[in-house]
Symmetry: C2
């Protein structure tokens, strides 16, 4: 099982992503990375918090990174903020 | 000048908060903490990224914390996600 399991946060309800995170851990992942950009960033934090507090309570937040990415759309180039939150099984 | 300067992110345009962050650093702050909850979390990340990339380019992100807070409203109690991003003058 690869340890770089990634859950990308989009516009669906938070619980969809919580389920995806829980599933990864249940499948044996030691680490799950939750990634989002733009407005979905708030939802990413929600998904991590709900997962950690209610479902996979034996996990910790290992790392949080924020950054900026260039996005090319019909209206030209624009910057969008991104977040990456790494959850991991707590080492006990 | 206290080193625990805090900028709270609300529903105003991102640039309002960028200005607040820049002002703190220009007033001599060594550290500025940007705090937000709920949907404003995405805007907090935007404000930090825009500040760091365009205005106070001699800063780094020192720490990012996420968490959950209980909120009491007319409709009873609910949980809300929070974020705290600590920006600091880079130690060069």
């Amino acid at each position: 099982m690869a340890d770089n399991n990634v859950v990308y946060i989009g516009n669906k309800p938070v619980m969809n992503y919580v389920l995806a995170v829980v599933k990864e851990f249940n499948n044996g992942a030691k680490e799950v990375t939750v990634k989002a950009r733009g407005r979905a960033i708030s939802r990413a934090v929600d998904a991590v918090e709900v997962s950690k507090n209610r479902f996979v309570t034996d996990t910790i937040i290992n790392n949080i990174k924020i950054g900026t990415e260039k996005m090319v759309s019909e209206n030209g180039e624009s910057n969008v903020s991104i977040i990456e939150i790494v959850m991991a099984k707590s080492p006990t």
